[in-house]
């Protein structure tokens, strides 16, 4: 604990990252209380106040049908964070188990699993998710599915590389000598030593999943209106540059803030847990 605090004190940027993440998470969780116009999350029209530049009480301005951008960004954060958590909750276990199996068993199992991983990794991430989203219906659940499909192989590769190093260590040999089962060796001996690296990558990835999901919806292949989404807000506003600049700049900066925050947090975690790059 003292070491953690010392690392944070030495590195003000890491502390800044924690603050950014905390602000975003709290803002999303308590959007109903914080948002000045909670009803603007949906299909509300207020033509008296449409396309307003930032001014009180619309601190980020209003969109083309008069909805408060600040309120919509808070609700968009809520959906982005939910999507990131679900994607990682599905993709990480799949990737970790396949990585452990490929790394531990070797031989044909390894060859087949790692070639499948290579295949997924050689379609540029966004392109794979785009094609899947285009062929399926663009809903939140399908978006999660498409991003998960491109995400798990990264964890397979990470855990595979770690497992190959760990299985040569003395403690694994010792467990084998006393006759421990394979399941015990894989999950109770090797896996715990991979946890710090997995946790660090997961933290960084919360930001990157949000980034990819917003890219999909920017292209019109993500969450559909009137659900607030940062990517589609930027796409919609880009048609009205430069006059209505707030329509694109604030949602764009909102993406930057959350990804930047999780990046700094991930870096801090890497240092605290002592993970090699």
């Amino acid at each position: 604990m003292t070491r953690t605090l010392a690392i944070l004190a030495r590195n003000p940027l890491s502390a800044f990252g924690i603050v950014l993440v905390a602000l975003v998470v709290l803002g999303a969780a308590f959007a109903d209380v914080i948002a000045p116009f909670p009803e603007h999350r949906g299909a509300v029209v207020d033509f008296l106040n449409f396309n307003k530049a930032p001014e009180w009480p619309y601190i980020f301005g209003t969109d083309l049908v008069g909805r408060d951008l600040f309120s919509r960004i808070l609700y968009a954060y809520r959906i982005s964070l939910l999507l990131a958590v679900v994607v990682l909750a599905v993709a990480v276990p799949i990737g970790v188990v396949t990585g452990l199996i490929a790394g531990h068993f070797g031989g044909w199992t390894e060859a087949i699993l790692m070639r499948i991983t290579d295949i997924f990794l050689s379609i540029p991430p966004l392109v794979l998710a785009m094609s899947m989203m285009g062929l399926l219906e663009p809903t939140l659940v399908n978006g999660m599915l498409a991003v998960t499909a491109m995400w798990w192989p990264w964890y397979t590769r990470l855990v595979y590389n770690l497992t190959r190093v760990e299985k040569e260590e003395g403690y694994v040999l010792a467990a084998e000598v006393i006759g421990a089962s394979r399941v015990h060796i894989i999950f109770r001996e090797i896996l715990p030593n991979c946890i710090p690296a997995i946790l660090t990558k997961m933290t960084l990835d919360v930001g990157f999943v949000i980034l990819i999901a917003s890219s999909l919806s920017f292209l019109g292949l993500g969450v559909q209106p009137p659900t607030p989404d940062l990517g589609s807000m930027v796409a919609e506003g880009a048609k009205y540059l430069p006059d209505s600049w707030w329509l694109t700049v604030f949602p764009g900066l909102a993406i930057l803030v959350v990804v930047f925050g999780f990046n700094l947090l991930g870096d801090a975690l890497r240092e605290i847990l002592g993970v090699d790059q």
Binding site: P125, L126, F218, P242
Partner: protein
């Protein structure tokens, strides 16, 4: 030298296996979608006969394995089928739109190398100073926004507020350049038209920067972290005690070993760029593969989707092959292993 050839052949073989796998994967995704692909492609107004004719043409009534066989046989002849969106061969469509995208990606890769690597070197050489912190913040910021956000911000700053770069397109419409390579920067030079070259260059600067920013950040961070490790090695201390200038130590001794991991990450970043080009092209109305790709995806144009994804993946595998080759030539342990044995 023999070992390099063997390495290349081995990598080439693996790439080919992976590419076949990619074709199976994308083929499977395109065929197992819910609903009748022919009906989806033709829309609700098509007659039953029209749908049946398309089902025949796409071999949709046969088992999936046979369908894939047809696809492979066509592919071997260089035929990716007819796009249902443009009614032209998919290969012709891709050939028309690909050069603009490749030109953009190539310039971005150049920017990533000539900006990202020196930034990393600078950061490591002035480790724990304000220079290091600044580079660190800038490079994390670079990877923290999707390229469409950078595209919009760059456009707002340098096309509207300070109008020095054009807003959209590849070149001013008043230039007519004979199409030789499809790469406008080359074609204008081949035509000897310097004014047109200037116009093409000014059009590509902002999109290329928007696409390169995240790669610049990643290249800088990786170069820094590798060099910081190298700086602790005894041979650096020896070079210092000989009184070599710091600049020479940085580039000749500390940077060189980190070149190989940096090149590897550049290969991966090119893959990301192939996807992100879709975002940047959308913002700058860049007439590349993106508009076509998004259009065919929204129209559920199966042949065109499969073809586009396959070509993009092939580009990625080629880029990685080039990186592997460069590494084989740079790394003395691979280059010289035959002579030592």
């Amino acid at each position: 030298m023999q070992s390099v050839v063997r390495l290349i052949l081995k990598r080439l073989g693996i790439s080919l296996v992976v590419l076949v796998g990619v074709s199976m994967l994308i083929f499977a995704i395109a065929r197992v979608i819910p609903g009748d692909p022919a009906r989806i492609a033709l829309g609700p107004n098509a007659t039953v006969e029209q749908v049946e004719a398309l089902r025949q043409r796409l071999h949709l009534d046969e088992p999936l394995v046979i369908q894939y066989g047809h696809f492979l046989a066509d592919l071997a002849r260089g035929d990716l089928g007819i796009s249902l969106y443009t009614n032209r061969p998919v290969t012709a469509d891709i050939a028309q739109f690909l050069p603009a995208t490749l030109e953009l990606i190539f310039l971005s890769a150049v920017l990533m190398i000539v900006i990202g690597l020196p930034l990393g070197v600078l950061s490591a050489r002035y480790r724990d100073t304000w220079i290091d912190s600044t580079v660190r913040v800038v490079s994390i910021l670079g990877v923290s926004a999707p390229s469409f956000v950078w595209a919009v911000i760059l456009m707002l700053l340098f096309s509207y507020f300070i109008p020095i770069f054009p807003i959209a397109g590849r070149i001013s419409t008043n230039f007519v350049i004979p199409d030789v390579t499809g790469f406008l920067l080359l074609d204008t030079l081949l035509a000897g038209n310097l004014a047109a070259f200037g116009s093409a260059l000014s059009h590509i600067v902002l999109p290329a920067f928007a696409l390169a920013l995240s790669g610049i950040g990643q290249a800088a961070r990786l170069t820094r972290s590798n060099m910081v490790e190298t700086y602790d090695k005894p041979y650096i201390e020896m070079a210092r005690s000989y009184g070599f200038p710091e600049r020479r130590i940085a580039w000749r001794y500390a940077f060189r070993p980190s070149l190989i991991p940096s090149l590897t990450i550049i290969g991966l970043d090119v893959a990301a760029m192939l996807g992100n080009a879709f975002l940047v092209e959308a913002v700058f109305a860049w007439p590349g593969l993106s508009r076509y790709g998004v259009a065919v995806i929204l129209r559920k144009d199966l042949n065109a989707i499969v073809g586009t994804v396959l070509i993009i993946s092939a580009m990625f595998l080629i880029a990685n092959l080039i990186v592997d080759l460069l590494i084989a030539f740079i790394n003395p342990r691979i280059r010289l292993s035959q002579r030592a044995a």
